[in-house]
Symmetry: C2
Subunit: 162 residues, 2 copies
Amino acid sequence: MTRDPIGEAHRQWVAHGWPEAADGMAMVTSLVRAQQLLMERIDAVLRPRGLTFARYEVLRLLSFTREAAMPMSRLGSLLQVHPTSVTSAVDRLVGQGYVERVRSDSDKRVVRAVLTEAGREAVEEATAALNDAVFEAPGLPGAEVLGLTERLTALRAGLGDA
Amino acid sequence: MTRDPIGEAHRQWVAHGWPEAADGMAMVTSLVRAQQLLMERIDAVLRPRGLTFARYEVLRLLSFTREAAMPMSRLGSLLQVHPTSVTSAVDRLVGQGYVERVRSDSDKRVVRAVLTEAGREAVEEATAALNDAVFEAPGLPGAEVLGLTERLTALRAGLGDA
């Protein structure tokens, strides 16, 4: 059988009496599968560098700020993940010497994550590798990349993304 | 700041001298984020039922076969995951009483996963709940659902999906 498993699932959905859910199922399953394929490529770049995509995103966000630092709570809201996920990512990055936790001088209740020089080098090197291996050739021609991003942006809005 | 973090990242990519990677980065990050939002909805349905999406997909595939059974190797190739992932999902499903492992009569080297009656009930109930909560209203109007699925199918092909 060389049929696409997702097309086959769509036919099964209709045959089982769920036609009004079949298109949504195919879209969701296609998106999950595309994400798996992209994440395999991303992980192939990041794993040898001791990074996950979540930790890479933390380093990337910090690197874009003027002081290479950000309150932990702000990291969580920008990455749109649970505070515990940010804590665990930053724990690992601290262990790797890429980030330090520093209590704010102006407000002792605020803990900031600060990028170290080693973290700066790691994120610059990882970004160059990701650009080269994934982002410059993400699986679609340029114009289709923009069309897909537009539709994904509409989907995120429809799913209540902040 | 109410700007979209992905639009902001795109601006940063261009500003840092990586314009040829900026669109791909925005597409990949949009897809990863949309997948997170969808998976939150899926998990909200499946977690109370003791299932993950991976285990649900195993039950669903088995339920669509005539004998409600399939060789482990075939499950892996249809789900496009590593054999170890199928083994671990089926281990959990066996523990839950939803699947049994049965050595094939015709070829003793082949181990088949067989859906139990409890597994059949669980997957039917979970499918009805997923259809209702996610697949019938996946975050986009119907015509846009089809347009997005088409583009995701092209992306999967461009990423070398089997």
